[in-house]
């Protein structure tokens, strides 16, 4: 959904809408790939890093996202769980942007360059929010990506020029 939205100029003109969708996408990925056991290890690590070290987190990692988070924490620079999760989400966003870029260029899509940039920016900005939501056990806010009649699709609300 995030990639589809980024292909539309009207949605690209609404970075806040894209960011919300990126948060939803990242939280959804985490729901698939981060187990309750792994989340518990992250929280334990944050509350007592000397007691629950990086080794326990690495041992509990199975999926790609978990493994990336564990690698961030194991890097030995005092990374906490929120930073580790945010960094992994950013990289996941880069992976999606790269995949989308290749598909759109192959399809000769006119937004082949702009759309992946928007996806990457939205994931970069949404990564911290998504990380915080995951660690606090909250769901992503429900969003309706459909355009409403009162939406300012050209982003003129603040007087800026149309993109």
């Amino acid at each position: 959904m995030l990639c589809r939205m980024a292909e539309r100029e009207a949605d690209r003109a609404q970075p806040e809408r894209l960011r919300r969708q990126a948060v939803a996408a990242l939280v959804s990925d985490a729901g698939r790939e981060i187990s309750p056991v792994f989340l518990r290890r992250l929280r334990e690590h944050d509350s007592a890093p000397r007691l629950f070290g990086a080794g326990e987190i690495a041992a509990a990692a199975q999926s790609g996202l978990e493994t990336d988070i564990a690698r961030n924490i194991s890097s030995g620079r005092g990374v906490d769980s929120t930073d580790a999760l945010r960094d992994a989400f950013r990289r996941r966003g880069e992976g999606y942007a790269l995949e989308q870029k290749c598909q759109l260029i192959a399809d000769r899509h006119p937004a082949a360059t702009l759309a992946p940039q928007s996806v990457k920016a939205a994931c970069d900005e949404g990564a911290l929010i998504a990380a915080t939501l995951i660690l606090s056990g909250q769901a992503a806010p429900r969003i309706n990506p459909r355009v409403r009649l009162n939406d300012d699709l050209l982003g003129h609300r603040n007087g800026e020029a149309a993109p």
Binding site: R92, K101, C102, Q103, I105, A106, T113
Partner: protein, 441 residues
């Protein structure tokens, strides 16, 4: 895991029993002939060699058969039951742990491997023949590709041609190096449609057969010729939510060597002498040493032969593109008409051997764009914060205790790759179809 893709148990069996679980029958669905290694080397075939071949072929079979449901994420839950002669060996916790750890690192799947006693007659243990051991020093897994060609040439230069043995897997014909000790282990899957295309277990079979070859010949090492771009590039740049591609990553090779060492109860040494060089640098070394003859006969193309329009390679897959860029860096040129698509051309059209000119299909264009993007993005890592971060992460996988050396080597590799990629791009016509794609990346 909340929603990893569960799979039914695959039982590997010596005959076809009745039952609900999927069964792969040895000799029918999974065919290999590991005893050829021992026969070829005039030494005894040990049950453990047969067990290792059965194990890795079974894992490869399940990996190809079990389709990833990507909407559930990358990871699959793979359970397999494998019959082995040396059951006491394989049920040791340390061996099981090393196996599952290496398989997970390679494929990103959660493996559970249950071993059961194999009922059939084990390979006959004979006393070793009173022949002097072959003076083999290097066993090279040989894929018919450019990297393994280069490695064989360099190993022969170092130790002489009697000291190098090639191990090949599959059913192809052997054309290169007719004078060298060369062993082909035939293997074939049948019975079901093998639909999963990611096939990350490919190196398990290749490296394991080479390791068995090294043990029976008492060679010094299994030598993997993969260059640095192949070993690290795909690991640094995963697409979407894919698991890191690590078929020649030293982190995987080390894990697999550990498992094989435990199973075979002797240290198995794997070497990767070209790990910190680009393919272009390896080719340059070959050229300077006068060992380049025959390089153009090797095969780098990842597409099926039927999709190469009657040419040696397609020209646009990741393998073909890296080959072309590397040849340019080494001052070599591919023979005219070598590839179906010419990356130096203005248009992405192919001249088929029947004389017909065809436009690139959407599928071929998708492959080309991905290959070009992989090369360009890997080059961009050379001087970006993302590159420094990627180099740090990969370096810790190479050497956890002392990552600084590996990180410096990897950064140098990135810079060399960028230099070769930039040199290649500047050799293209400014309005070429490749430039048009690069301009959008």
């Amino acid at each position: 895991m909340n929603a990893l893709t569960p799979m039914r148990l695959l039982r590997v069996a010596e005959d076809a029993p009745s039952g609900a679980d999927p069964v792969a029958v040895l000799g029918r669905d999974i065919r290999t002939a590991s005893e050829r290694i021992a026969r070829y080397c005039v030494t005894q075939h040990e049950p453990i060699y047969e067990d290792l071949a059965t194990l890795v072929e079974s894992m490869a079979y399940l990996d190809r058969q079990a389709v990833r449901r990507r909407s559930n994420g990358w990871t699959r839950d793979l359970t397999i039951e494998v019959p082995v002669y040396e059951l006491g060996q394989f049920v040791k916790p340390a061996i099981g742990q090393a196996l599952v750890d290496a398989a997970w690192f390679l494929t990103g799947d959660r493996w559970r491997i249950d071993f059961v006693a194999r009922k059939g007659r084990p390979p006959v243990r004979q006393g070793a023949l009173a022949l002097p051991p072959a003076p083999i020093k290097h066993v090279v897994p040989f894929s018919d590709g450019l990297d393994s060609f280069a490695q064989v040439q360099l190993s022969v230069r170092e130790h002489g041609q009697d000291a190098v043995m090639l191990v090949r897997a599959g059913l192809g014909r052997d054309r290169a190096f007719p004078k060298l000790a060369s062993l082909r282990v035939p293997r074939k899957f049948s019975g079901v449609r093998l639909r999963e295309t990611t096939y990350r277990t490919r190196p398990l079979v290749f490296y394991t057969l080479a390791a068995v070859g090294a043990v029976v010949t008492q060679a010094e090492a299994v030598v993997i010729g993969e260059n640095g771009q192949g070993a690290f590039g795909p690991a640094c740049l995963p697409f979407a939510d894919e698991w890191w591609f690590r078929s020649a990553h030293p982190g995987f090779v080390r894990r697999w060597a550990k498992f094989l060492g435990l199973a075979l109860e002797r240290s198995i040494r794997f070497e990767q002498p070209q790990l910190w060089k680009t393919k272009g640098e390896v080719l340059s070394v070959l050229q300077e040493a006068g060992l380049i003859t025959g390089w153009e006969q090797t095969n780098s193309c990842a597409t099926r032969p039927n999709d190469r329009h009657g040419r040696h390679g397609c020209g646009v897959c990741g393998g073909c593109l890296l080959r072309t860029v590397s040849a340019h860096a080494a001052g070599l040129s591919l023979p005219p008409g070598h590839n179906a698509f010419d990356v130096h051309a203005l248009e992405d059209r192919v001249q088929a051997q029947d004389g017909q000119e065809k436009q690139m299909t959407p599928g071929e264009r998708a492959v080309a764009v991905r290959a070009i993007a992989a090369m360009a993005e890997f080059a961009r890592l050379a001087d970006s914060p993302a590159g420094a971060s990627a180099a740090g992460r990969e370096a810790r996988l190479v050497d956890w205790a002392n990552p600084e050396v590996a990180q410096a080597l990897l950064l140098r590799l990135l810079q060399q790759h960028r230099s070769e990629w930039d040199g290649f791009l500047s050799s293209l016509p400014s309005r070429s179809w490749v430039h048009e794609i690069v301009g959008q990346l």
